[in-house]
Each structure stands twice: as structure tokens, then as C-alpha cells.
């Protein structure tokens, strides 16, 4: 099957076509770019670096109901994710798509998490290759990704100037391509080759890096190392680095009951940087200070996760570096780990 292209003039039309599904695209609100459901193609803001909040929230919402109940009534009503319908995330970055593939390993490990997996199944990911790195702190090639990375994506768009090259990568992607049949045209023969060249060039523009070999094995041995105290001294214990991380997946489960007994059990993002995250009911906290919490965050991403799933739980998007209020820099920490 020939590779397709989408002329930039037809992007509005294509988005309109896709809005028969639940269409999620980057949109601007003040200076912040976030992924949200869009009704009007005009809302989509495709000329962006990267979103502040990663699109993980589409498949793993910040708050979601697991089941509903009426206090005193034994019946529990399970959330039907299917009702949310087929979803298309348009224009996400390859790192964020790869993050979903990485997190899926956990959500399908041993016990299947029906909510995450169902949403993942219903969602088609249309990626937008990073011709220019979205931020100075991008380091995706160091952790196994790339600015033109295809892992996790169903379709990959590459900005070729006047048009996007459209490469379908999965069956879901092919289906979506068929939906857009009247907007797509056949691409020129050399376009794919040209995109490969652009990919190599784009990778060359990424300036930050870390040698990850050996880090997963080394981290457990640095348990009592002084570096943890040093790197966490400035930490405020807020949730920016974890909430904005595309691979952070920890959650809390809470019950909420309205006055008339109508209740729900729901889960919401939680952060290992919060003090009550690991606090026991007895008041004992196995991770009592920011030092232990920072150590756990880094170890989880770079040691525990790879030891179980063979992949580092970090995609190098640079959000935690860009947005940390006190300039705690994960690459700086990892360099200290390497040097320790």
C-alpha cells in the first residue's frame, strides 16, 4: 500500500472527519498547551512544542470512577468504559505515545486493568514527529525512543513543509487512514526516504543525553549514598514531576459519597513525592522525608521498572526538568548516579 500524505490545507477537513469520534488534540488555553476534546478543528493547535500535561490523561484520566454504589444497597454498578466511545488522539508526540506502550506493560501485567486496557483499545494514536526538538531538555534517544519514534503509535505524521507524510503503523492506523480516504493523497516515492533523513537530522538536534547502561543495576547499591540527600534538599515535595510525567502511573483510590448515599469509588493520580503517599494508618511512614521519596522516584523509573519489564520508565520528554520549580534535573541526578 502506498504511503499517504495529508496536505496542510486539508487538515481542518480531516479533523472534521475525525470529530465523528471522540477527538482529542492539543489546544491552547492562555499560554498552556493541553490535550482536550475538541469540537471545532480551529481549536486544535498543532504547531506546538509539547503539551504541559501529557496525553496519558486520555487513557488514564486524572480522576475516574471504578464503580458506583448506593450506600446500603449491595449492588455495585461497574463503569462501562466502552460508553466513552472510539477516541482519536491527534498530534501527540512520539515520546508520549511510547510512554503509553510502556505503562501498558504494567497495566496488563498479571492482573489486567480493565479500565486502562479498554481505553487503550478504543484509542487510536496519531503521532506528530518532532522535526525540531520541542524543548532543550529532550533526551528521548538516550532512553530508547526517538523524535520520529513509532512505538505505541498507530499513525505517524511528519511535517514535510506543505503537507504531512502519513505512515500507518498498525491495523488501527490503517482503519483510520481509510476513514480519511478522501483527505489523503498518495505521497511521492521518495518521501519516506526523505523522512528517514529528517529523522536522523532531528535526532542530531537533541542535545541532552545520558548513558543509561548500568544504571538499573547500580541504583540499588547506592541506597545509603549521600547523593540522595543532596539532590533532594531543594525538593518542595510537590507533584509536578510525577503528574506531568507521561509514564508515572501511580494512583490513589478513594470513595466519595453524596448526601443521599449516592457514591462512587474512584481512582485519581497520586504522587510518590507526597508525604501521605506511603503513610500508614498507624502514623508510621516508611519513606519519611523527601530524600527517600526522591530516591524511590528515580529508582522506580530507572531500576525497579526495568528489572520487571525490561524497559526504563522514562521517555525523555524533559517535562520534569522544564517545570520543576527548583530546577531539580533528572539528568543531573543520573549523572551523579553514574559518577557515584
Amino acid at each position: 500500500m502506498a504511503v499517504k500524505k495529508l496536505s496542510k490545507e486539508k487538515i481542518g477537513e480531516a479533523l472534521k472527519e475525525l470529530s465523528k469520534f471522540r477527538l482529542i488534540a492539543p489546544a491552547r488555553s492562555d499560554e498552556v498547551v493541553i490535550f482536550k476534546e475538541i469540537a471545532d478543528p480551529e481549536e486544535a493547535y498543532l504547531d506546538y512544542g509539547n503539551s504541559t500535561v501529557p496525553p496519558k490523561k486520555v487513557v488514564f484520566p486524572q480522576t475516574e470512577t471504578l464503580f458506583r454504589f448506593m450506600v446500603g444497597n449491595p449492588e455495585l454498578e461497574e463503569k462501562n468504559v466502552e460508553e466513552e466511545g472510539t477516541t482519536v488522539i491527534f498530534g501527540l508526540r512520539p515520546c508520549d505515545a511510547r510512554a503509553m506502550a510502556i505503562v501498558e506493560k504494567l497495566f496488563s501485567w498479571d492482573y489486567d486493568d480493565p479500565y486502562f486496557l479498554k481505553r487503550r483499545e478504543l484509542t487510536t494514536l496519531v503521532g506528530m514527529a518532532c522535526v525540531e526538538p520541542p524543548s532543550v531538555n529532550c533526551f528521548c534517544p538516550s532512553v530508547g525512543g526517538g523524535p520520529f519514534g513509532k512505538e505505541g503509535l498507530d499513525l505517524l505524521l511528519t511535517d514535510m513543509g506543505d503537507y504531512y507524510l502519513v505512515q500507518s503503523l498498525t491495523d488501527k492506523g490503517k482503519k483510520l487512514e481509510e476513514t480519511l480516504a478522501s483527505q489523503l493523497e498518495d505521497a511521492a516515492g521518495g518521501d519516506e526516504k526523505k523522512a528517514e533523513g529528517m529523522a536522523a537530522e532531528a535526532e542530531g538536534k537533541i542535545r541532552r543525553s545520558i548513558k543509561t547502561e548500568g544504571i538499573p543495576e547500580k541504583l540499588p547499591g547506592l541506597w545509603e549514598n549521600d547523593l540522595w540527600k543532596k539532590v533532594s534538599a531543594a525538593c518542595l515535595g510537590c507533584g509536578i514531576c510525577t503528574f506531568l510525567c507521561p509514564t508515572c502511573h501511580c494512583f490513589d483510590i478513594q470513595d466519595e459519597v453524596e448526601e443521599l448515599g449516592d457514591g462512587r469509588r474512584c481512582r485519581m493520580w497520586d504522587s510518590c513525592m507526597f508525604s501521605e503517599y506511603s503513610l500508614h494508618a498507624s502514623g508510621h511512614n516508611p519513606r519519611p522525608t523527601r530524600r527517600e521519596r526522591t530516591r524511590n522516584r528515580i529508582s522506580h523509573k530507572y531500576s525497579y521498572y526495568p528489572s520487571r519489564f525490561d524497559v526504563i520508565a522514562c521517555v525523555g520528554c524533559g517535562r520534569c526538568i522544564n517545570l520543576c520549580p527548583v530546577n531539580i534535573d533528572i539528568l543531573d541526578i543520573l549523572e551523579q548516579v553514574v559518577d557515584a
Binding site: T65, E256, E258, E259
Partner: protein
Amino acid sequence: MGDNTKTDFEPNIVAFLCNWCSYAGADLAGTSRIHYPPNVRVIRVMCSGRVNPLFVMNALQQGADGVLISGCHPGDCHYMQGNYYARRRFNLMRNFLEYLGVEPERVRMSWVSASEGAKWKEVIEEVTEGVRTVGPMDKFKRRQLNW
């Protein structure tokens, strides 16, 4: 919210009454058979100074259309100063909620003494009317059915 809701609308008002004056005043209104609007749900607290601004916010979240805090007249507080503290707190709270777009008619404060059954009636009438004119509070009410 349709236009007709404003006329058909019966507001829910949560009133925090101090144990020593306003609660007794409301009680007196009752025992004196004074008729006043039935829209008020009374919560008795020991002093108007005990009313945490979070109570007000929580009431509005949980479906109250208006909140009234009532205590002893200045100088009459059973605990000497509680109502003075409350006065400061609620002046700021009221201005702030107005700044966010919550009508000032929704958060009211009054002084009603134990002997003022008649004033209690007037206060309730005014608060209820005020809330009725601004309509139901749905700005940041918790959604009942939240999937």
C-alpha cells in the same frame, strides 16, 4: 438553568447559628409562632467564631444555595470575642467569593440575639429573598452523578 427556575425556585439555605443567641432567637421565633420562610436548615454551633470558612465553602459545594452565619451582637458574645473574629473572617470571605463570581446575596451574616424572634424572621425573609433573586447555586456544586 431556565428562567422559570428563578420564580419556582425554593432556595436551600444553610444557617450556622450560635448556641447562645441566634439559636435561642430562632427558637423564640418558633415558640412565639412567628411564621418565616421554611428554606433554612439550621446547624447549631457553639459560637459564630467557630464557623470555619471551609464550612461555608463545603455547604455551597454540597448544594446549598445560600449560607447564613448568625451570632450574638457585638459585645454580647458568650465567649467575649468570638463574634468579632467571625466578623473579620466573613467580611473577607464575602468579598472574595464575590470576586470569584459568587453573588454576595449567598453568603450572609447577621446578629440575632436570644430575644429577637422577630428579627430572626426578618433576617430569614431577607436572606431567602436575596437567594431567590440570584437563583440556584450551581457554579461549583458537586455533580451528583459523576462517572
